[in-house]
């Protein structure tokens, strides 16, 4: 009871920090935080498959990119309100998740990874070649529209209002994904990761359950893609390419897929490292690669796992020191 109360206080404190953050940091850093929030949703959606479901996917950028294209096309061509465009971007990601999930969730291990990669490339090549709709490699540019709430127009042109809009969407998505982990479906996802046969033997339809998880994962990736496109005010094939697919894998791995908030930490860390290193040095990619190798070797559970093991070791030492 006491622990739970402290948990809520901590979460409230984090939200409070996020609310006052625009007063504390420069506009550029606020832009970086917006990027971190968007990629946090993307990484959390990926972690539904990777960390919680035990499925290594190389094709998650397909849902991110599909959602991004859907949002831009709907907002630009059909003058749809931005929140609706982003929601429908999420639904587009979910639809793609259903279309591909029907085939891929039957697989495990290497076949699963390769099939997701193949589907990702299918979407990538389609976006590249279908120039009339996607603009090919040049992509589609658009102007982020203002938010109209029943006659009350909120200007999303400035960084501040846009930050609070993204914060709101991020909190809703993180809340939903957190809630999912508490539901029977979320528990079953963990159970299937540990022992799918056992889950099946006790009566669960693991195929249908995995498919639902896959669709939900596609939905949240689509929402993240829609937000990213609205933030950049353009969408191009780099939203779907292999770089994007490996970025989300790295974010999740760096933060640690074993904890719910690990991917959030990973996305923040990767964006920050990328930004700082590429400013400080020319060969930043080598340093980034070395850091990743060190992390794989010495902290396979990511930053959150590293923190936890240090804390546990420290607690053990402390207990040992006080024992007679």
């Amino acid at each position: 009871m006491r622990g739970s109360r402290f948990g809520w206080i901590r979460i409230a404190l984090v939200i409070l920090v996020l609310l006052v953050l625009p007063k504390l940091i420069s506009e550029y850093r606020l832009n970086l935080v917006i990027t971190m929030m968007i990629y946090s949703i993307f990484a959390l959606s990926y972690n539904l498959l990777f960390g919680q479901g035990g499925l290594l996917s190389f094709g998650h950028a397909a849902y991110f990119g599909f959602g991004a294209y859907a949002t831009v096309i709907l907002v630009k061509q059909l003058a749809m309100p931005l929140p609706l465009g982003i929601l429908l971007g999420g639904l587009a990601g979910a639809f793609l998740g259903l279309a591909f999930g029907v085939f891929v969730v039957r697989m495990r291990g290497v076949p699963f990874a390769l099939l997701t990669l193949a589907f990702n490339q299918l979407i990538y090549v389609t976006a590249e070649k279908w120039r009339a709709v996607t603009g090919g490699e040049d992509g589609i540019a658009f102007i982020r529209p203002n938010l109209n709430l029943g006659g009350w127009e909120i200007d999303l042109w400035g960084t501040l209002n846009w930050y609070y809009f993204v914060l709101l969407v991020t909190l809703i998505c993180v809340g939903c994904l957190w809630y999912l982990t508490l539901t029977p479906l979320g528990r079953l996802n963990l159970c299937m990761r540990e022992n799918e046969d056992r889950a099946r033997f006790i009566g669960y339809n693991t195929y249908a359950s995995r498919l639902i998880i896959y669709i939900l994962s596609g939905f949240f990736a689509g929402v993240a893609g829609g937000l990213a496109a609205a933030f950049q005010e353009f969408v191009t094939t780099t939203f779907i390419n292999l770089d994007k697919a490996t970025d989300v894998l790295m974010m999740t791995f760096i933060g640690g897929g074993g904890t719910f908030f690990g991917p959030v930490i990973g996305s923040c860390a990767l964006i920050l490292i990328n930004d700082l290193l590429s400013t400080w040095m020319e060969r930043w990619a080598i340093v980034q690669g070395l850091l990743f190798i060190l992390l794989v070797l010495y902290a396979p559970n990511g930053l959150s796992g590293l923190y936890r093991s240090i804390r546990e070791r420290w607690a053990k030492q402390k207990t040992g020191a006080t024992q007679p």
Binding site: V17, L18, L21, S26, D138, T236, F261, V264, L303
Partner: protein, 404 residues
């Protein structure tokens, strides 16, 4: 676990907070460079930076700009539009740069250009040539100081249409907007200069194509008199080298053969090729020699070829616009830049006020086995074409007025 959450997120925010400090000096003015500094196109980015650095060194050695020393803040856009936009924001919001310069990628340039109305700073496009940047997607914060695709190929069409009897052309280009622009505008331009020219083939291959043999067979079978290609980098070297090895001897009209990196690989295979650009090394005039020697002096012994030259000229033009404005205020610079004429190495370069596309003459060059610039075969200019002959009208370029 929750402590991990809390510690991690608050820690990240703390780092952000620490890094949020903005520092700039009153005695300096920052120019932002958002170029490719990693990956396959790093070489292009480096060359663009060399050109910008030479222009800045030259200005600083003569007392700076409006009494301030120019400092370059260089960021890596990684060849990706979204990173380019992120870095452009950094250059403006954090480093207070008065301009963001980028030229190596039309894709990145297009994305940065779209972001500038929000940032209210100038994006100086020194060498990205896609038509849309100052055409369909025009906005008043973008200025292009190099040729665009339409002008570039019009110079080639002028040469082949007016100076040769070749009337069968094969168009081979990369499968993205640049390649499509080259094909579309060449077809339109050649009809103007030599209406009886026949396009006997048109191919678009993937970027970084390895095997040109099937395309060479098609070109040979088509009976083409010459080839036009907007290829760059390895796609150009491979096209030239492989076609010559396979016995194709007809001229290849190119837009990026003045890259000394390409010529160093192509060497003798480039014999018979024709190149067009806004300036090509070796023009026999005092003004051109002074231009080359000045660059040579301020660049630490390099020559103004290819994108180095374009970035050098573009940066010098921007510096001139700031001097004319007498201020670092964006609106004042825009006003001063619009319609400004700068005395270029082969003639005046005028910034067209409507679309911010510089209007300039062009140079045509052919293969030269020996030049004073490099220890491998390069090019030698054979003619210049007046600006009026290669100009592409606002309508032809797909220009649309900017709406906020």
């Amino acid at each position: 676990m929750k402590r991990t959450i809390f510690g991690g997120i608050v820690g990240m925010m703390g780092i952000c907070l620490l890094l949020g400090t903005v520092v700039w000096s009153a005695d300096t003015v920052n120019f932002g460079v958002c170029e490719i500094r990693s990956g396959a196109f790093k070489d292009n980015g480096d060359r663009t930076i060399w050109g910008i650095e030479a222009a800045v060194n030259e200005a600083n050695s003569k007392g700076g700009l409006l009494g301030k020393k120019i400092e370059l803040v260089i960021e890596d856009n990684q060849g990706k539009g979204e990173i380019g936009v992120q870095k452009a924001k950094k250059l403006v919001m954090q480093d207070n740069c008065v301009v963001v310069i980028q030229g190596s990628s039309s894709g990145v340039g297009g994305a940065i250009g779209q972001a500038m109305p929000r940032l209210k700073r100038i994006y100086l496009d020194t060498n990205a040539e896609a038509m849309d940047i100052t055409g369909k997607n025009f906005n008043p914060y973008v200025f292009r100081t190099c040729l665009n695709a339409g002008m570039h190929v019009k110079a080639l069409a002028h040469y082949f249409g007016k100076k040769t009897q070749y009337r069968k052309v094969f168009l081979i280009n990369q499968d993205y907007s640049w390649g499509y622009d080259v094909a579309k505008y060449y077809e339109a331009a050649i009809k103007q200069f030599a209406p009886n020219t026949q396009v006997v083939g048109k191919e678009f291959h993937q970027v970084f194509n390895k095997d040109f043999a099937p395309y060479v067979s098609k070109i040979t079978a088509s009976g083409a008199d010459y080839v036009i290609s907007g290829n760059w980098g390895t796609d150009l070297t491979q096209l030239v080298v492989q076609s010559r090895k396979l016995g194709m001897k007809i001229p290849i009209g190119a837009t990026f053969l003045d890259d000394d990196g390409v010529m160093n690989i192509a060497r003798e295979a480039a014999e018979g090729c024709i190149q067009a650009n806004m300036y090509i090394l070796g023009i026999d005039s005092d003004k051109a020699r002074a231009f080359e020697d000045t660059f040579h002096k301020y660049s630490g012994g390099k020559w103004p070829s290819f994108v180095i030259m374009e970035a050098y000229i573009g940066t010098k033009m921007f510096i001139e616009a700031v001097r004319k404005a007498g201020s670092f205020d964006t609106d004042k610079i825009i006003k001063a830049f619009e319609g400004m004429t700068w005395d270029g190495p082969i003639g005046p370069i005028t910034m067209r006020p409507e679309d911010h596309q510089a209007q300039m003459p062009a140079v045509i060059a052919e293969y030269a086995s020996k030049t004073k610039y490099y220890d491998f075969p390069y090019l030698k200019p054979i003619m210049t074409i007046p600006a009026s002959e290669i100009s592409v009208s606002l309508e032809e370029s797909g220009w649309k007025p900017y709406k906020e």
